[in-house]
Every structure is written in structure tokens, then in C-alpha cells.
């Protein structure tokens, strides 16, 4: 046959998939099944479910955590990306000698990390690191999972708070000098810190608005431009202008406003925050591109599956018709009455 000519010598390192990886994939199968069984509405509702650390007696005590890990892929259309993250996370854990439960933990953790907006490779690394740390520090499997759930809750859930947490962590990381990954994994921002940052952001906005208004007012008056910000009696760290009008000098002069060290820090913080937001937007754009590619791929899969189904239908009908025809012929040949009718071999002469 043509196949024989086409084949090269078989390369002898194609091997079967290891049993542990098959079981890990079976867990993914189960997660996808539970996710799809819940339907779109159920899956969306489930996205707000937090992990039940040690919640004995609850339905889906642990599988809920695994199940939740797939919701990101369902809602954003990045099922393919989720599969890659899970497979790579579990494989990396298997290479590191972790147990099967640890491998599933690493895969689950990696998929969850996707929701933080990082790349797939980063999600795998961070997910594996989190699971590895949890399973090394936990005394048994249960406590290891508890540690992991808590870590994942800090990093990824609830989704609505994730943006605020990431923004806050950026400040803390810049102070401590830690890497972003370390900040994500080990430096969650407390609500008090978030509130403080919010207040600072509000005050800074107020300062900028007031100064803008003040400058506008000075331009419209036109006749003289006075320095008010360097007036120690009227200036304040927030730049709020006093209600008393500034004294007008004879010679117009513009003095550079003094900025306190705190204001400098705030400006630096704003600049770094803007840079970080830009980075997040760029990352989101990259994720969106990946989603589009993934959707295109999924569409291709569906086409293939549909084609397979259509082919099967057509093939099945052909098989049925063929079998019925064979049966009819057999009955005709085996029937004694019919056999008696055949007195001589049938010949066909066109």
C-alpha cells in the first residue's frame, strides 16, 4: 500500500502517556463535565464561589475548587489555554516528583493563575510554585490543599477584587523590592492598606483638580501672575488654595511651587501606577489575541466534529442500507421456496 512507502523508520521514542497523566487528564475531564453540566448560568454563578478550605460535608468540597478552575476558561473562551495550563502544570509537578494529588493541585493552581491576567507560561510557573510550596509545607494532603485554597483565594478570588489587589500589591512590591511573582504569591494587601491607598488616590486627584482650577484662574485674570503656592501661609501639602486672595506684587513673577517629599512620592506612585495600568492593558490585549486564536481553533474543532458527525450519519445510513440489502439477499438465497425457483445459474447478457 501507499502507506508502506510513505512511512519512515519508526522513531522509537514515541511512548504512551503515563498513567498518572491520564488520571490527571481525567480530572480535567471531570471538571469540564461538571462545568458544562452546570450550564452557562450556573457556571457564571459559580465564578463567585470561594474555595471551601476544609469544609467537610459540603457538596463539591474539593472538586468545587477544581471545578472553579475551569470557569475562567469557560467564561473567557480560553478553554484551550486552560487545558495547556493544566497539562503543563501537572506535568511540571510530575517531573518534580510530586504525587498525583500534587500534580492536580499544580494544574488547578496554574489554571487559576490565568485569571490574574498573566501569560500562560507565567501562570504555569506561579501555579506550580504555589502548589509546590503548599504540598511541602502541609503535613498531609488535606492540610496541603487547605494551604493551597487559601493561597488561591488570596491571589485570584473574588474576581471583582482582583484588580484592586493587584494595583495595591504593586505599591507594596515597589517598597519591598520583591518581584511581582513574590508579591502575588506572598504579599496580599489587607483591606486597611487598600483603604489607605484609595484615600491617597482621592487626595491626589483633589490636589490636581484644585491646582488646575487655580492655574486657569490665574491665566484668565491676565494682568498679573502671582505666586501663591510658595506662600507658606497659604500653601499646604495638598495644594488646596486658601479662600483669602493672595497679595498682588508689583512685578509679576512665577515661582516654582515647592513640592513636599510626600508629593514627590505620590507623583512617582501615579507614574508607576499609570505604567502598570498600561502594562495590564497590554497584557489584556495579548490575552484577547490569544482568546481570538483559541476561539478560531475551537471553531475549527467544532467544524471537524460536525463533519465527523455528518460523516458518521452518512456512513451509518450506508451501512444500514448495505446490511439490509445483504439480509434480503441472504433470505432470498436461503429460502427453500426461493431456492427451488433457481433452476439454473443466473447469467447476465447485456
Amino acid at each position: 500500500m501507499a502507506i508502506k512507502k510513505f512511512f519512515k523508520k519508526v522513531t522509537k521514542f514515541v511512548k504512551k502517556i503515563a498513567p498518572v497523566l491520564i488520571v490527571a487528564a481525567a480530572v480535567y475531564f471531570g471538571g469540564a463535565y461538571l462545568m458544562a453540566s452546570a450550564g452557562t448560568a450556573g457556571a457564571s454563578a459559580g465564578a463567585s464561589v470561594t474555595y471551601a478550605a476544609g469544609g467537610v460535608g459540603e457538596a463539591f468540597t474539593k472538586s468545587a475548587g477544581v471545578w472553579k478552575s475551569f470557569l475562567g476558561g469557560l467564561s473567557s473562551g480560553t478553554a484551550s489555554q486552560s487545558a495547556v495550563a493544566f497539562a503543563e502544570g501537572s506535568f511540571k509537578a510530575s517531573q518534580a516528583g510530586m504525587t498525583l494529588s500534587g500534580q492536580v493541585a499544580a494544574g488547578t493552581s496554574a489554571v487559576n493563575m490565568l485569571s490574574t491576567g498573566v501569560s500562560t507560561g507565567e501562570a504555569v510557573n506561579q501555579g506550580f510554585a504555589l502548589a509546590d510550596a503548599a504540598f511541602k509545607s502541609g503535613g498531609d494532603v488535606q492540610s496541603s490543599w487547605d494551604i493551597l485554597w487559601n493561597g488561591l483565594n488570596d491571589v485570584t478570588a473574588p474576581v471583582g477584587e482582583a484588580v484592586g489587589e493587584v494595583a495595591g500589591q504593586g505599591v507594596e512590591m515597589s517598597v519591598s523590592g520583591g518581584s511581582p511573582a513574590e508579591g502575588l504569591l506572598s504579599s496580599p494587601v489587607t483591606p486597611e492598606q487598600t483603604a489607605t491607598l484609595d484615600a491617597q488616590m482621592y487626595d491626589q486627584s483633589q490636589w490636581m483638580a484644585d491646582n488646575t482650577m487655580s492655574n486657569a484662574g490665574e491665566v484668565t485674570t491676565g494682568s498679573s501672575v502671582s505666586s501663591t503656592l510658595n506662600d507658606s501661609a497659604n500653601s499646604n501639602p495638598w495644594g488646596i488654595i486658601s479662600e483669602t486672595p493672595p497679595p498682588v506684587t508689583e512685578v509679576a513673577s512665577v515661582a516654582t511651587p515647592e513640592t513636599s517629599s510626600f508629593q514627590s512620592e505620590m507623583m512617582e506612585w501615579i507614574k508607576s501606577n499609570q505604567a502598570r495600568e498600561l502594562k495590564i492593558l497590554e497584557d489584556q490585549l495579548a490575552v484577547t489575541r490569544e482568546e481570538i486564536a483559541a476561539r478560531a481553533s475551537i471553531d475549527k474543532w467544532k467544524l471537524g466534529m460536525t463533519a465527523g458527525g455528518l460523516f458518521l450519519n452518512a456512513f451509518g445510513q450506508y451501512q444500514q442500507a448495505n446490511a439490509a440489502e445483504k439480509e434480503r439477499k441472504n433470505q432470498f438465497r436461503l429460502s427453500p421456496e426461493n431456492r427451488a425457483l433457481i433452476t439454473e445459474p443466473f447469467t447476465y447478457t447485456p
Binding site: V23, Y33, A36, L100, K300
Partner: protein
């Protein structure tokens, strides 16, 4: 994927796969699954019929892969931008008709489905390597890619089955919980695994 009739759902085994220490030793049988007794222990069930059906599904998928669909798959692989995804698509296109065929005959061997998927995925990679459309750099790469492809297939099948009532949510949830609880942690790790060679494929496809 069409929904299975209720009587088929009733034929489902009452329990999800047992943990390894609960399982009885598998009886040696002819067929690809029984050639590796410890393969996919999580999904073993002591049902000869299911095993036979699964083996038939694998054989039919391989026959299709090297038979009528061979040229089509070669076109796909040769023009592939992402071999891992395309092999997943090929595997699904091979497995889904087998599942549909099994559902109309003796029932779908759900507990063997991952075995079947792994065999088909592995065979797909074998085909890609043999035909030169995929040249892996080493064992680890091909193992990683096979794992990703299998996970993609598993996810797609899981979503497909999720739309039907063929599987019981409780069973699936219990299975996940048992894995997470460490009931399968005594399976050999990657380092302990011995490399397994795929069965030799007869030229011209599997015998009917």
C-alpha cells in the same frame, strides 16, 4: 453529541473507578488496554464488555486514522500551525464517531474513555512522527505535548458529555475528590515509569 437513551444511563456502573488498593487484579485479555495492566488505573472497571468495546473503539479509530482519513489528516498536519491543537482535533474527530457508534451498540464505556483517548492521542503522535510531519526534539517534549493534547481532548469530551445526562455528577465529583484526597497517590511517578513502546501497527491498518 446525541444524548444517550435512559436505559443506557442505567447501565452505568454504580461507582466511579475504585482506588488502586481496592481494585482487583486485572484479568489478562487480548487487546491494547490489557497489554499494560497498570495503565489508567483510575478508570479501570471490571467489565469485560466495556473493555472489549474500548478496545474495539481504539482499533476502529486506528483503522480510520491509517485508512480513509489518512490523507485528510496528513493535509492537516502538514499545514499545521499548532500541531498540539490539531492533533487534539484529529483525536476528537476519531473518538467522537466511535463514541456515537458505541452508544448505538452496547453502550459507551465511560470508565475507559480516557484510556481510549490516550491511545488515540498517542497513536496520532506516532503517526505524525512516523510520517515526518512532527520531529520532536526529545522524549520530554513529546510527552509534554501528548499530555497537553490529551488534556484538550478530555476537556472537549467533558464539555460534550456535560450536555447530556449520561453521567452522574455525584460520581464525577466523588472521583475528583478521591484523586484530590490522595487515593491515587501511590501510582508510579514519572521518574519511576518505564518507557513503554506502542504496539506495532500492522501495515494497512488493524484487522477487522
Amino acid at each position: 453529541m446525541p444524548e444517550l437513551p435512559p436505559e443506557m444511563a442505567q447501565q452505568m456502573p454504580p461507582e466511579m473507578p475504585m482506588s488502586p488498593d481496592q481494585m482487583a487484579p486485572e484479568m489478562p485479555m487480548d487487546g491494547m488496554i490489557s497489554q499494560a495492566p497498570d495503565e489508567s488505573m483510575a478508570l479501570q472497571m471490571d467489565e469485560g464488555e466495556a473493555n472489549a468495546t474500548a478496545t474495539k473503539m481504539i482499533a476502529s479509530a486506528k483503522k480510520e486514522m491509517y485508512g480513509e482519513s489518512f490523507d485528510t489528516y496528513m493535509d492537516v498536519l502538514q499545514s499545521s500551525d499548532n500541531l498540539v491543537e490539531d492533533l487534539a482535533m484529529i483525536s476528537i474527530s476519531l473518538i467522537v464517531p466511535q463514541i456515537q457508534a458505541a452508544s448505538t451498540q452496547g453502550g459507551v464505556p465511560f470508565d475507559y474513555l480516557m484510556d481510549v483517548s490516550a491511545e488515540v492521542v498517542s497513536e496520532g503522535y506516532d503517526m505524525a512522527v512516523q510520517t515526518g510531519t512532527y520531529v520532536p526534539s526529545g522524549e520530554e517534549e513529546i510527552e509534554r505535548n501528548q499530555n497537553i493534547t490529551l488534556t484538550m481532548v478530555a476537556g472537549e469530551l467533558g464539555k460534550e458529555f456535560g450536555g447530556s445526562t449520561a453521567l452522574d455528577q455525584g460520581r464525577v465529583g466523588n472521583f475528583i475528590d478521591s484523586v484530590v484526597d490522595g487515593a491515587y497517590d501511590n501510582l508510579p511517578t514519572q521518574q519511576e515509569m518505564k518507557p513503554q513502546m506502542p504496539p506495532e501497527m500492522p501495515i494497512g491498518g488493524m484487522p477487522v
